[in-house]
């Protein structure tokens, strides 16, 4: 299964994400499942070896503390970041939503009379569909991260936030590159990477504007931190005369001392690396007398729903995310259906928590429930986002299920159905009345020969559960010799 950019227009969604049919087709695609299984298994092993010599619980406590402290001071830190960046010569822009961010970036391109834009990897620009926006206005946009380059060539969207083309194996990439760029068809990752590098190298030199994401923005020094493995991030941010860095407003941290622990967690959690090949710390445009670097650097701070999430103490933990992708790599659901089945920018557990808050629960009706609550995501999250608890919170919001706690997420209550409410009311009555419970369970055991052999989705894969001859209540009652009422 592949997903084209047109399929996933997220802003101004008029209809809900079509999760179930996408799941069905993903599960039927054995090639896709094999690709994900192999890749995710490898990533899990790499992560666990990378942390083997660390006190991981203590490091995760530190990561969580740093992110929570930063979020508590978020408004102040953002203003400090703006002041420091401006003092360093970086121009700062604020964007309320994706559309506004796209407009800001287009205006910068217009002012520079740019024609070609080269991009480093950035999930927030995927969120706002920046490429489509720029292309519609006549700019040529080229993704320079190898995975993004492949995905762009295939006219697809990323299926993973760190490894955008992880859904494809070498043979599929060889076919694609052969068809699209005319290189020899060879199933050789080194050869294909080398070809892509040669194709891209020239484009860096020609580009008028480089656009990148940001991993962490440091408030007290005005430094933009960007990690990558291919050198494309460094080329994107230094070769073109203008660099535009785009980030969600939650990525700010107080000071440079916060960066070391976060980087230790990020790269090990994401790819099992002690450190990425490149760590870029960008603090100013080219200064007089310097030979390299862009003459102009812009920072676009994008809200796009984050301030709304920030209002709720529990849900604000979503914003702790440092986008490592470990929750996806360890998710048994993601591993089986792949990233495209979710149909949103962010897939996997963090996507299941974040996207309903950004798009509304009515647009993402299956997201909170598509989890066995196995807890793997919460166990590996480097900043201890309680993902299973947040999924439970969203399930509760989806049905307005708690009178003592008002629902706040957009689209709350959209999954509350009269029939289900009736079933739960019945369930509640039976289980609140011990005598009724004992009588009905005993009756069920006695009539167990009549119990149904087909139970919807359950018996598609399993035989029906068999009621025991007697209940534990009866057995314990007989054992104690007491008379059951």
């Amino acid at each position: 299964m592949s997903q084209t950019r047109e399929d996933t227009s997220q802003q101004g969604h008029n209809s809900a994400i079509n999760f179930q049919p996408q799941v069905t087709s993903a599960l039927a695609n054995s090639q896709l499942r094999g690709n994900f299984d192999k890749a995710m298994t490898g990533l899990m092993h790499k992560r666990s070896s990378a942390f083997a010599d660390w006190d991981l619980d203590a490091l995760r406590d530190l990561g969580q503390a740093i992110r929570q402290r930063a979020l508590r001071q978020l408004p102040d830190l953002l203003e400090q970041l703006e002041r420091q960046c401006q003092a360093n010569g970086i121009q700062v822009h604020w964007a309320r939503d994706g559309d506004e961010a796209c407009r800001v970036i287009t205006e910068i391109c217009q002012q520079r009379q740019a024609k070609t834009v080269i991009k480093g990897k950035s999930m927030v620009t995927e969120e706002m569909e920046l490429n489509t926006h720029l292309e519609q206005r006549g700019y040529s946009v080229l993704e320079s991260d190898l995975g993004e380059y492949i995905v762009q060539m295939a006219k697809e969207t990323p299926s993973h936030i760190i490894m955008p083309a992880i859904h494809k194996n070498t043979a599929e990439i060889a076919d694609l590159m052969h068809t699209m760029t005319g290189v020899e068809r060879r199933e050789d990752a080194h050869y294909l990477t080398d070809q892509a590098r040669q194709q891209l190298r020239e484009k860096f030199m020609q580009a008028d504007v480089g656009i990148s994401g940001v991993n962490f923005a440091v408030a007290d020094s005005g430094t933009l931190c960007l990690v990558e493995n291919e050198g494309n991030g460094r080329l994107t941010t230094t070769t073109p005369p203008c660099h535009i860095a785009v980030t969600g407003i939650e990525k700010v941290v107080p000071s440079l001392t916060d960066i070391a622990p976060l980087l230790s967690l990020l790269t090990r959690s994401a790819t099992g690396q002690s450190i990425t090949t490149y760590v870029n710390m960008i603090s100013r445009p080219r200064q007089p007398g310097e030979q390299d670097g862009p003459e102009a650097v812009h920072l676009v701070l994008v809200d796009n729903g984050r301030s709304d999430i920030y209002q709720d103490d529990e849900l604000a933990q979503t914003l702790q995310c440092i986008r490592c992708g470990a929750c996806m790599n360890h998710c048994p659901v993601y591993t089986r259906i792949g990233g495209h089945a979710y149909g949103t920018t962010y897939p996997g557990p963090i996507g299941q928590v974040l996207m309903p808050q950004l798009l509304g629960l009515e647009q993402t009706p299956d997201f909170a429930s598509a989890s066995s609550l196995c807890g793997s995501c919460g166990e590996v999250c480097p900043v201890r986002i309680p993902l299973p608890s947040l999924l439970l919170r969203l399930r509760r919001e989806a049905v307005d299920g708690d009178k003592t706690r008002p629902s706040t997420v957009p689209g709350h209550g959209s999954k509350r159905s009269g029939l289900e409410s009736l079933i739960w009311r019945f369930w509640r009555i039976v289980h609140r009345h011990p005598l009724l419970y004992r009588q009905s369970t005993r009756l069920a055991s006695q009539l167990r020969a009549l119990s149904p052999k087909r139970l919807g989705g359950w018996t598609r894969y399993r035989s029906a559960p068999k009621l025991a001859k007697t209940t534990l209540h009866s057995a314990m009652n007989a054992r104690s010799g007491r008379q059951q009422p």
């Binding site: 799941v23 599960l27 298994t41 619980d57 406590d61 969580q64 048994p332 659901v333 089986r336 259906i337 299956d366 909170a368 429930s369 598509a370 066995s372 609550l373 196995c374 807890g375 793997s376 919460g378 608890s389 969203l394 509760r396 919001e397 299920g401 708690d402 009178k403 003592t404 739960w424 369930w427 509640r428 039976v430 289980h431 609140r432 011990p434 419970y437 004992r438 369970t441 069920a444 055991s445 139970l455 919807g456 989705g457 359950w458 018996t459 598609r460 894969y461 399993r462 035989s463 559960p465 068999k466 009621l467 025991a468 007697t470 534990l472 209540h473 057995a475 314990m476 104690s480 059951q484």
Partner: protein
């Protein structure tokens, strides 16, 4: 932050058994085996007849109001200060870790917190509180163990199953590939997302079968119902049972050592 560590109590004279609704209806022999094992350790087991369900099905469906109503009916059933042991990981996890959140801000908050702190997984209780010593009376057998995600990641007692089985001399314990991965049960998940759940369950049964085990065991009735259901539907010949049932059968003919 990391979960607070609860200290194990010293071995008590009495415990309460919260049997759970799945054991009550589908696996009473597992509950009885738990009682037998505890009684052999000299512990009196009290089974309050008014217990029904911990409330988890409603809770994981977002129906906190219904979950709280049913959970509230359980809060008064354990008035003594004795531990409450539970023969299924996810129900133990519900009571230990989720009751305090469910009742937070209500008049039952204190009661829920106090009960939660007394809840133990039965297998873990046998190992770490009773310090049980088992003598194997069975024929040689190869066993694979599936530990539930709740036991592993919520109750953090994944080591108790192997600790018990390793005491049995004639049992060879084998580990399936991806041992920590979920079996795909997840309560309503298995019905709402039947195809994803089915794919996970199929993979887990295949991994168990690949070990060449004679039988598999689980510590959680949800997982057990899921996996035995798949194994039976696929006619793999692989059968499963609850860890506690197996332990009792293997060690019952020699009472006190």
């Amino acid at each position: 932050m990391s979960q607070p560590v609860l200290l194990y109590p010293s071995k008590p004279d009495k415990v309460y058994l919260f049997g759970t609704c799945l054991v009550d209806l589908f696996y009473p022999e597992a509950g009885l085996a738990g009682v037998d094992l505890l009684e052999r350790e000299g512990i009196e087991v009290i089974y309050p007849q008014d217990q029904t369900c911990c409330g988890q099905p409603a809770y994981t469906s977002g129906r906190n109001d219904e979950a709280r109503a049913v959970a509230q009916a359980q809060l008064n059933l354990f008035p003594g200060d004795w531990p409450v042991v539970v023969p299924s990981g996810s129900c133990a996890g519900m009571m230990r870790h989720h009751y305090p959140k469910l009742f937070e801000g209500t008049e039952d908050a204190e009661k829920a917190r106090k009960l939660a702190a007394r809840v133990w997984d039965l297998a873990d209780f046998l190992v770490n509180v009773c310090q049980i010593k088992l003598t194997d009376t069975g024929e040689p057998v190869t066993i694979a163990l599936h530990t539930s995600c709740s036991s592993r990641r919520e109750m953090r007692v994944a080591d108790s199953g192997p600790a018990l089985l390793r005491q049995l001399n004639n049992v060879t314990l084998v580990e399936p590939a991806k041992v920590t991965e979920c079996c795909g049960f997840g309560g309503s998940f298995a019905v709402r997302h039947a195809d994803i759940s089915g794919a996970m369950a199929n993979d887990k049964v295949a991994a168990l079968a690949q070990t060449g085990c004679d039988r598999f065991l689980s510590t959680d009735c949800g997982c057990l119902m899921n996996l035995t259901g798949v194994a039976e539907k696929q006619k793999t010949g692989l059968s499963g049972e609850h860890l506690l049932s197996f332990l009792w059968q293997r060690s019952q003919s020699n009472r006190e050592v």
